[in-house]
């Protein structure tokens, strides 16, 4: 097994020949977040699963704080995986942050992606004048205080005890739940990366077709974000808002989400 494969716990399964589907999970979770979707794809496609650096299932020593201070670090990881597996073209399904990582990767290497399915994606989480990202500065401040308190405790050998449920804002609670699954220093770094990232400027340069899928009630991703993406993406795109709740619909409502994702994977955007 190559170094990249092993570090990212890459798994290639499925005997299908309709193409290759690469599944990218969001921060704080790992490839098991796709457990309900995989059985439905296994017969038709070759599926590649991997864990991002910093996920609980990877060796924490491999997390390079400089590399991952921006999303590009993750995009390069994705490209490295595709190259090591000699994948010429794939359908990339990315959840939350991974969706943006896929978009970034496609800017560098557009020929590697035939389409990107974006689940619960957002180019920027913090509100701006004219832009509703979903989070206020106040909310984020409280989250950072929590992460910093955990980080300090961890460094000093005490128990980091703050979790998402302690925060006031329901949106932050929901979104950050998975952040508290990561090691405190990595979680703090990721939080900084997430809330400082702003992908709005690069959207017009995307050339790969994008399928935008999200919950109708996701506190972290208002429906207006899906609209924004659709309007500003340079490539052709389509939006589907599912009648699900929460930021991890593929885990909380698999019965609704799986058919939607299958449809978007199998079918292209009608011109």
């Amino acid at each position: 097994m190559g170094v990249v494969e092993e570090a990212h716990n890459v798994k290639v399964i499925g005997s299908g020949n309709k193409g290759t589907v690469v599944l990218g999970h969001g921060f704080g979770t790992d490839q098991s977040v796709w457990r309900h979707l995989v059985p439905h794809l296994v017969d038709e496609y070759r599926i590649v699963l991997y864990d991002n650096m910093g996920a609980g299932t990877t060796n924490p020593e491999y997390f390079d704080f400089d590399r991952y201070s921006t999303l590009e670090g993750f995009a390069f990881d994705l490209i490295a995986i595709l190259e090591e597996l000699n994948i010429e073209s794939c359908i990339f399904v990315g959840h939350s942050l991974s969706a943006m990582v896929g978009v970034l990767a496609s800017l560098h290497r557009p020929e590697l992606f035939s389409k990107i399915v974006m689940v619960s994606a957002s180019p920027r989480f913090v509100n701006d004048d004219d832009y509703e990202g979903g989070f206020d500065q106040e909310d984020i401040k409280q989250l950072f205080e929590a992460m910093q308190s955990n980080y300090k405790a961890w460094c000093l050998g005490f128990a980091p005890l703050v979790v998402g449920g302690d925060l006031d804002s329901a949106a932050v609670q929901e979104f950050s739940r998975t952040l508290f699954n990561m090691r405190p220093d990595i979680a703090l770094s990721m939080a900084q990366t997430i809330f400082s990232s702003d992908m709005r400027q690069i959207l017009p340069f995307v050339s790969v077709p994008c399928h935008i899928v999200q919950s109708s009630k996701d506190l972290a991703v208002p429906v207006s974000v899906a609209e924004y993406l659709h309007t500003n993406l340079g490539s052709e795109s389509v939006v589907e808002v599912m009648s699900t709740e929460g930021h991890l619909p593929q885990l909380s409502s698999p019965a609704t989400v799986t058919p939607v994702l299958l449809r978007h994977i199998r079918n292209d955007i009608a011109v």
Binding site: N9, N59, N150, P160, G165, A170, R177, N181, M182, L219
Partner: protein
Amino acid sequence: MASSTITTTTLSDLPDVILSNICALVADTRARNSLSLVSRKFLALERSTRSHLTLRGNARDLHLLPGCFRSISHLDLSFLSPWGHSLLSSLPIDHQNLLALRLRLCFPSVSSLAVYARSPTSLELLLPQWPRIRHVKLVRWHQRASHIPLGGDFVSIFEHCGGSLESLDLSAFYHWTEDLPPVLLRYADVAARLTRLNLLTASFNEGYKSSEIVDITRACPNLTDFRVACTFDPRYFEFVGDETLSAVSTNCPKLTLLHMVDTAAALTSPRAVPGNDAGDSAVTVGTLVEFFSALPCLEELVLDVGRNVKQSGVALEALNSKCKKLRALKLGQFHGVCSATEWRLDGVALCGGLQSLSIKNSVDLSDMGLVAIGRGCCKLSKFEIQGCENVTVKGVRTMVTLLRKTLTDVRISCCKNLDATASLKAVEPIYDRIKKLHIDCVWSSLEEEGGVEETSHDDDEYERSQKRCKYSSDEALNGFCSEDRVWEKLEYLSLWISVGEFLTPLPMTGLHDCPNLEEIRIKIEGDCRGKRKPSEPELGLSCLALYPKLSKMQLDCGDTIGYALTAPPLQMDLSLWERFFLTGIGNLSLSELDYWPPQDRDVNQRSLSLPGAGLLQECLTLRKLFIHGTAHEHFMNFLLRIPNLRDVQLREDYYPAPENDMSTEMRVGSCSRFEDQLNSRNIID
């Protein structure tokens, strides 16, 4: 006067033969370890007399096996790391054979083997090494792979150890019931020599079918110890009824130990109390009498039937006269166990030789019945009562008083009228003798006085029997158990508590002073989903710091169900609950902890969360920690901060154990890295 030198005689002056016999009798591992440090001679003696060994360590380090334990007869390989993986299968084939050979060279006399057999290959490698094995225990919590042919797991055992095999334990081995009977048929001569067969497998939903039980007992007529999980529900296909029982007793007349346990009653919902309208089983009294008559050697009997067995009193009286050696009895859902309508003893109260009695879900058992049992079963040292709605503190307390000389182990659970206060009140008469106790932590409001109001008619009956018995009872049946009681002999305490409740009232109910309490088991159960945040931030584990000798704990939140990552807005997820449960655990000086994290059933995840790991790392006196679930590597690394921690393992010993990475099972690499770090530290003692 010549001075005489004073010589002292020490243990080492005893002849070697005697010393070696003494050494052989020492069972406790830590004692043996200490023994081996005394001198080279004692070291040699200890090594040559140690008979039981559980191997811990990483399977890939098997070449480092010590060769000094030549007398091991009982070898347990099921705990090797990485836990739950096929032994040796990750190595190239020629290495596998060499390591199996090495195992044989180091342990030439193995007669009893326990091994985690994820697939038959481990057995095919190991069993040929010891053809004289008498006892095999297989462990598998992972699902049985469907490509294994029927019986494939067992063929190696019967093939290689057929000459001397006597006992097979499948109680922790997930298999299909169809796997076993054909193998027993094929190796009929081996089956005929079997004396022990344990088929009480925790993972079964329905258990063994009636015809399978008949076939098995017919193939193994020499069984003395037979335990099987089955279903007594007549609505199910192949339920156990009269015919099955007759067949069992006819086929295996030499049985001394028999457990027949209904899977629904005991394994899937052990605390469910069937109401008055629960269905009947297909077991009749007449058959029971014949059944008992045909098993005169019975010493221990468990019939945990999940449906009603009516009017069983007569059968139990027959039990007493036919099975004179019976010492332990457990009955589930038997009615008429002891009706105590007249002065004379009836039903189970006539079984005077019993030392252990467990009555579960007998809806008609009354206080009078308990008193009769107390009078009749006068040698009882262990008594358990579960799900009996009609008994009250008066009945139990009177019974306990009657059995004061012998009773040391009492368990009270799921009885409507016996909450924590009442249960303690009930066992108060033996406060200075009781060694093991289970109560449910159901707290009544503090204004209530203990006990339940009874009708005056019952009171008269009760008074009369009191006078007749001529014993003295405590007058104060109202109020709480006195806080002055010193529970001097109490060593083991087991508690059940519903999720959301607190542990803090426990000392105030009377268990304030337990100077010798060493081990505690706490089971927290319930559905967290939709529950509001508890009014206090912690369950109250710190209140256990009262008990000075407390060193071992089993904290079982495994049946607490909630959301791991997908909690709806503003609902508590499992990380908050885990923090609630574990806060304060660092205040106890525990040396050994078994912990079952709460689970998210939708994704079959039982995983340690951030606050969980953080709170566990505060138990600075821990030496052994077993987490029955999964955990991320970086959370495990928190535990490296505990200075003397030396034995840690993630054991997914619940059904079904997560099969692969789709369930965030801790990966083999992570496991090995963690253990390497753990083992590379200097341990002071």
